[in-house]
C-alpha cells in the first residue's frame, strides 16, 4: 500500500518529515499486514487442487498477492482453500482441520463442488456444499475455476479482510472466542451432524410415505 492510502486519517505532517513518517489507524496497518500474507493450508481435495497449483506456478504466480506460502499444518494457516468435492467420508477430517486453525481464519469454497455439490451433488457420498459445515467467506464458481478466477476470488477475500475492524471481530472477544468451533460430524449409517441430533431423531421416527 502506498503512503497516500496508508495516511488517510488526514493529519498534517511537517514537510521535513513527509517521507519518514506515516500516520494511519491501527485497523488499517493491521489489515494491510494480514491481507498481504494470507497463508493457505496446503491441502488439495480434487480437480480444483490442480488449478490451485497452476495458480501458484510461474504463469499466474499467486505470490504477487502474498499467498504463496502453503502451510502443510493447519496451525500456521490463515485460509482453508476447499479445492474440490467434499465427501461425507472426508468432512470429519475437514472440520477437524478447520477447528485446529488459529483465528483469524477464512474459508474459500473453490469450484462448483465445494460451493454446492456441483456435478456430483446427487451422489450418496457427497456433501452438497462445504457451507453445510464451515462458514464460507468467498465462493468461486467454475468447474474447475481457472487460475484467474481463483485469483479474483482471493482478491475478494482481501477486500473482505480490509473491511474488518479490531473492535468488532470475534476472535479477541473472550466471550465469543469459540464462536467458530464446529462439532465434528460422525460417520453413522449416513453422515450425522451432532448439531442436528434432535431433528434427525424426530424425522427418522416418521414413517415414510
Amino acid at each position: 500500500m502506498d503512503n497516500e492510502k496508508l495516511s488517510l486519517p488526514g493529519y498534517d505532517i511537517p514537510e521535513d518529515l513527509e517521507h519518514a513518517v506515516a500516520i494511519t489507524t491501527l485497523d488499517r496497518i493491521y489489515n494491510w499486514g494480514r491481507r498481504s500474507s494470507v497463508w493457505p493450508l496446503m491441502f488439495g481435495l480434487a480437480c480444483c487442487a490442480i488449478e490451485m497449483i497452476a495458480a501458484q506456478a510461474a504463469r499466474y504466480d499467486m505470490a504477487r498477492f502474498g499467498m504463496e506460502v502453503m502451510r502443510p499444518t493447519p496451525r500456521q494457516a490463515d485460509l482453508m482453500l476447499v479445492s474440490g468435492t467434499v465427501t461425507k467420508k472426508m468432512i470429519p477430517a475437514l472440520v477437524r482441520l478447520y477447528n485446529q486453525m488459529p483465528e483469524p481464519k477464512y474459508v474459500v469454497a473453490m469450484g462448483a463442488c465445494a460451493s454446492g455439490g456441483g456435478p456430483f451433488k446427487e451422489g450418496y457420498n457427497v456433501v452438497a456444499g462445504v457451507d453445510k459445515f464451515l462458514p464460507v467467506d468467498v465462493y468461486i464458481p467454475g468447474c474447475p475455476p481457472t487460475p484467474q478466477a481463483l485469483i479474483a476470488g482471493m482478491i475478494k477475500l482481501q477486500e473482505k479482510i480490509d473491511k474488518q475492524s479490531l473492535k468488532r471481530v470475534a476472535w479477541y472477544d473472550g466471550k465469543k472466542k469459540d464462536a467458530n468451533f464446529i462439532p465434528e460430524p460422525i460417520l453413522g449409517p449416513d453422515l450425522i451432524d451432532p448439531r442436528r441430533n434432535a431433528e434427525i431423531k424426530s424425522l427418522a421416527a416418521v414413517k415414510e410415505g
Binding site: 480434487a46 451433488k121 474447475p144 453413522g188 449409517p189 431433528e199 431423531k201
Partner: protein
C-alpha cells in the same frame, strides 16, 4: 475394433465340460463359470492358458433376473485379446463367491470394492472390509434397489426437468432437507461409530514383537488424508518398527464421488464430462477410453481425421502428465516446487492447446461417439507442431540434464526396489510401473486401439524396477509420445470429424463392452453394459491408480518410512480416478 473376447480359440468349455458354458446372451462374450469350480478354473486360465494379468473384477446386479454376476477380465502380458469369465449367483441371502486372491493377488482391493458397493461376499478373502465407504454405512449403494437420498428417478433426463418441467431443488424433496437418509427410528445419540477399529485390527497381524526377550513397541502412523505428499486425500495406516515399515494398509474413499452410480442414471453422452473428472490430469485419455467402450457397443467406425485428433490429444496429455509427474516426484523428494515450476511451464502450453480446441483447460469433454466434438481451430495445429518438433524435445532434454545426473537424486532413487516383474504382474499392475520392471506391456502395442497400429514407436521399457528406472521411464515415454505425435501431425488427413450426426441421445444396442486404453497411469478401462435403454445398466470404471495401489503394501514392507513417500509418488496415483 480393438479388444475382442475370444470364445473360439480358447476352448474353456471343452477343458471343463459341465462347469463352463459360453455366454450366449446377445451382445455378450466370454464364459460363465460354475461358482464351486471358480478357483480351479481360474488357476487353469492362469497356468494352462497363460492369461497371467487379471486386470478387472467387478460385479453386476441383474435385479430383474434376480441374479448377481461377477465379471473377470484376464489378459496375457505377451499381448493379444483377452478372456472374460463370469460367475453367476442367485440374488438372495448373502451373495457369496469364492475369492480369487490366492490365484491373482491383484483382485484384493477390487473384491473389497465389489463387497462394499454391491454386497458380494468373497469367501476366503483375508481382509474383506469396506473400502470406498466407511464401516457402518447402511446398504450397498450400487445395488439397483438401493436409492440415494437425492433419488429422483431411475434414469435421466428426469421428467420433472424435461421437456417442460421446472427445477425443484433436491433438498426440497428430502425429509432431512439434505443429502441424508437414515434407517427407521434411528437415534443418533445412541450410535457408536465403528471408527478405525477394523482397520487397525487388520494391521494387528503384525504385532508380535519380542526379539530375544526385549519388548519393543511398534507404532502406527497415519499418513493422510491431509498430507502434502499423498497426492490428494489418500491415507495410509503404517506400522513402524523404528523407521522400517512392517505393515501398511491403504485407506481410500475420501474422494469417492459415486461415479458408477451417477453414471448409471446418466445417458451415455452425459457420462462424457464425468469421465473428465476421473483422472483430472488427463481428461483426454479418459474420454478416449469411454468413447471406445461405447463405440464398441454401438459398433460404429470413427471418422479418420478424428482418429488422428484423438491420438494427438491423448499423447499431448501423456506428455504433460509425465512432466508433472517428474516435478511432483522431485517435490516428494524434498526439492520443493522448483522442478514442478519447470513442469508447469510446459504444461500450460499444452493446456493452451486444449483450451483452444475444447474450450476448457482441464475438463475437455472433447470426444464424441464416432469422432470428436469439434475440429482444431486454425493455427492450433501449427502450435502443436512447434511444440512437438521444437520446444518439447529441447525441454525434455533440459529436464534430463538438470535432474538425471544430480547426485542427490541418484542416491535417493538408484537401487531402491519398487517391485519385481513377477509380483507386478501378480498384483495386476499396469502402466509405466510395470514396464519399469522389464515387462514390455503397453496396450497401445499389445492390444491396439484407435490408429496406434499405424505409428512407429517403441514400447519404453526398463529392467531394474527401482525408483530410478521408474523416473527414467517417464522421460522415455515422453520421447516416444513425441515420436507418435511427429507422425500424427504429418499424416493427419482432412475430412469430417465425426462419422455420426451430432445427437444428444445415442442408440446403444444391448450387450456388454470393455474398452481399455493405455492411459498415462496404466490401463484405464470402462466396462459398460447396455440393455437397449438410453442409459447404461452398468457402468464400471477400472482405473489404473486404484489397481496399482494393491501392491503398495508389498512394495513398502521392509523399506524405510522416508522411502514410502517416493514409492507412493512413482505409482503416480490421482485420487479422482482412485476413488471415483
Amino acid at each position: 475394433m480393438a479388444t475382442t473376447f475370444l470364445t473360439s480359440t480358447v476352448d474353456l468349455v471343452a477343458r471343463f465340460p459341465g462347469s463352463v458354458t459360453a455366454d450366449a446372451r446377445p451382445g455378450y462374450h466370454g464364459f460363465i463359470v460354475e461358482k464351486d469350480k471358480l478357483v480351479e478354473i481360474a488357476t487353469a486360465i492362469r497356468d494352462e492358458f497363460g492369461y497371467d494379468l487379471l486386470t478387472a473384477v467387478t460385479g453386476v446386479d441383474y435385479l430383474p433376473e434376480n441374479k448377481m454376476e461377477v465379471v473377470y477380465h484376464a489378459y496375457k502380458t505377451t499381448g493379444g485379446p483377452g478372456l472374460m469369465f463370469k460367475v453367476q449367483v442367485p440374488r438372495v441371502g448373502p451373495v457369496e463367491v469364492p475369492s480369487l486372491i490366492e490365484v491373482y493377488p491383484g483382485v484384493d482391493l477390487q473384491e473389497r470394492e465389489a463387497w462394499d458397493l454391491l454386497g458380494i461376499k468373497f469367501t476366503g478373502h483375508p481382509d474383506l472390509r469396506r473400502i470406498l465407504m466407511w464401516e457402518g454405512f447402511e446398504g450397498h449403494p450400487l445395488r439397483k434397489d438401493w436409492k440415494e437420498p437425492f433419488y429422483e428417478e431411475d434414469f435421466k433426463p428426469f421428467k420433472s426437468r424435461w421437456p417442460e418441467g421446472k427445477h425443484v431443488s433436491a433438498e426440497e424433496k428430502n425429509p432431512f432437507k439434505d443429502n441424508l437418509k437414515y434407517p427407521q427410528n434411528f437415534d443418533p445419540e445412541k450410535w457408536i461409530p465403528e471408527g478405525d477399529a477394523m482397520l487397525y485390527g487388520s494391521l494387528a497381524r503384525y504385532t508380535t514383537v519380542d526379539p530375544e526377550g526385549l519388548k519393543a513397541d511398534r507404532i502406527v502412523v497415519n499418513m493422510g488424508p491431509q498430507h502434502p505428499s499423498t497426492h490428494g486425500v489418500f491415507r495410509a495406516a503404517i506400522t513402524l518398527e523404528g523407521e522400517t515399515i512392517v505393515g501398511l494398509k491403504p485407506v481410500v474413499g475420501y474422494l469417492h464421488r459415486n461415479h458408477d452410480k451417477i453414471g448409471e442414471r446418466n445417458t451415455y453422452l452425459q457420462n462424457m464430462p464425468y469421465t473428465d473428472r476421473l483422472d483430472y490430469f488427463n481428461s483426454m485419455s479418459n474420454n478416449f477410453g469411454y468413447a471406445i467402450a461405447v463405440e464398441k457397443l454401438m459398433n460404429i467406425k470413427v471418422a479418420e481425421r478424428a482418429e488422428y485428433l484423438r491420438v494427438i490429444m491423448a499423447e499431448l496429455s501423456r506428455i504433460q502428465n509425465h512432466l508433472v509427474f517428474v516435478g511432483m516426484l522431485l517435490n516428494d523428494l524434498g526439492a520443493m516446487y522448483t522442478p514442478a515450476l519447470y513442469a508447469f511451464e510446459e504444461r500450460e502450453l499444452i493446456l493452451d492447446i486444449f483450451e483452444a480446441t475444447a474450450g476448457s483447460r482441464m475438463m475437455c469433454n472433447y470426444f464424441r461417439f464416432g469422432g470428436v466434438v469439434r475440429d482444431v481451430p486454425e493455427g492450433v495445429l501449427q502450435k502443436i507442431k512447434d511444440l512437438v518438433f521444437d520446444r518439447l524435445p529441447a525441454k525434455t532434454d533440459e529436464m534430463e540434464r538438470f535432474l538425471s545426473e544430480n547426485e542427490v537424486l541418484v542416491s535417493r532413487l538408484q537401487g531402491v526396489k519398487v517391485i519385481d516383474a513377477e509380483d507386478a504382474v501378480r498384483f495386476s499392475m499396469t502402466g509405466p510401473v510395470l514396464r519399469a520392471t522389464g515387462v514390455p506391456y503397453d496396450i497401445r502395442r499389445a492390444d491396439p486401439y484407435g490408429v496406434y497400429d499405424r505409428f512407429d514407436f517403441d514400447v519404453a521399457v526398463r529392467y531394474n524396477g527401482d525408483l530410478m528406472d521408474n523416473y527414467l521411464i517417464r522421460l522415455d515415454e515422453i520421447r516416444q509420445s513425441l515420436r507418435i505425435l511427429e507422425q500424427a501431425v504429418k499424416q493427419i488427413p482432412e475430412g469430417p470429424i465425426n462419422s455420426q450426426k451430432p445427437q444428444y441421445q445415442v442408440r446403444v444396442p444391448a450387450g456388454e463392452a470393455y474398452g481399455r486404453i493405455e492411459s498415462p497411469k496404466g490401463e484405464l478401462a470402462f466396462y459398460v453394459i447396455s440393455n437397449g435403454k438410453p442409459n447404461p445398466w452398468r457402468y464400471h470404471v477400472r482405473p489404473a491408480s486404484f489397481v496399482n495401489i494393491t501392491a503398495l503394501e508389498k512394495m513398502c514392507l521392509g523399506t524405510k518410512i522416508a522411502d514410502f513417500v517416493v514409492l507412493l509418488g512413482v505409482l503416480d496415483i490421482v485420487m479422482g480416478e482412485l476413488d471415483r
